[in-house]
Symmetry: C2
């Protein structure tokens, strides 16, 4: 079965991990020594330096942590993805969405650590985001995709410019 033992199996986190109630077990990865678990979490109490390290790893420009903290606080949904080796957790993915809590959500800052790219992690993260947003009765999920990831989102069911609707941006001069 390759990398994943039970991706999207719907299995809950094993008892040992239930301390963090929002956590959700995704699957296992194995290396030479041990089996490592992959989890999602919607817990926002995040080490911002660890998040910055993740964003550094994919080459994003640094942003003031004060603003990152505020953005996380005021996002409708924040999903983190973790690799657990024994008692140690490592942040390997992140995404968040703004929303009006009723009709629309917009997904921002989707990132997977390069060590974990090409293994279906981004797809798993996005499916989890969609599932959570749908669970909150949000029917219009939107995002702004860089050209190199348009096909990635298309494969997840996102449509670009449906009925000619254009994503538009305004920046200060």
């Amino acid at each position: 079965m390759g990398f994943w033992k039970s991706l999207f199996s719907g299995t809950d986190a094993p008892a040992a991990s239930k301390a963090a109630p929002m956590d959700r077990y995704v699957g296992d990865e194995t290396d030479d020594r041990t089996t490592n678990r992959i989890f999602f979490s919607t817990e926002r109490d995040l080490d911002l330096y660890e998040l910055e390290e993740l964003c550094d790893a994919v080459g994003w420009s640094r942003r003031p942590l004060r603003k990152v903290k505020k953005a996380i606080q005021h996002s409708f949904l924040v999903v983190t993805m973790w690799e657990q080796r024994g008692a140690q957790r490592r942040l390997i993915g992140f995404s968040r969405a703004t929303s009006d809590h009723a009709f629309n959500a917009t997904i921002w800052d989707v990132v997977i650590h390069p060590d974990f790219q090409g293994k279906g992690m981004g797809k798993a993260l996005m499916k989890y985001m969609i599932k959570k947003l749908r669970g909150e009765d949000i029917s219009n999920i939107t995002l702004f995709a860089d050209p190199q990831v348009v096909n990635f989102y298309r494969n997840l069911g996102f449509m670009s410019d449906p009925e000619g609707i254009k994503g538009m941006f305004w920046y200060p001069d």
Copy 2:
């Protein structure tokens, strides 16, 4: 000077209207009988039936008022536009934005009553939205524009697909 006496004059609302502290005087329109004032407000305590009437007037599909109420509550910014004749106010425009309160805002549901279209009202409303969002230190203002209004937003400084970034939508099956 046509329709507006003092659009964007920066004048505050006259004393009589200061009861609603978020109101902002936009300008005057005149008809045969009297001078009517146009105001913006960021007050959210809105008659939802009046808003529904406005949206009906431009042919939008009706939405459950319970969800509209929730969306207004959870929007970062809600701007309404009013015509005041004597003691009577009429809702003539509406717009709102979701945001993470830090980096991004997305503008939704921009509407001007057909009786007031073609008079610079939409432009005034959007400029006010941008000014308020900029005042909150939001630098990335986004929206999804129907094809027939792409040029309207372009004239306000919005860019479509900058650097190939595509607006994408996911809808439930």
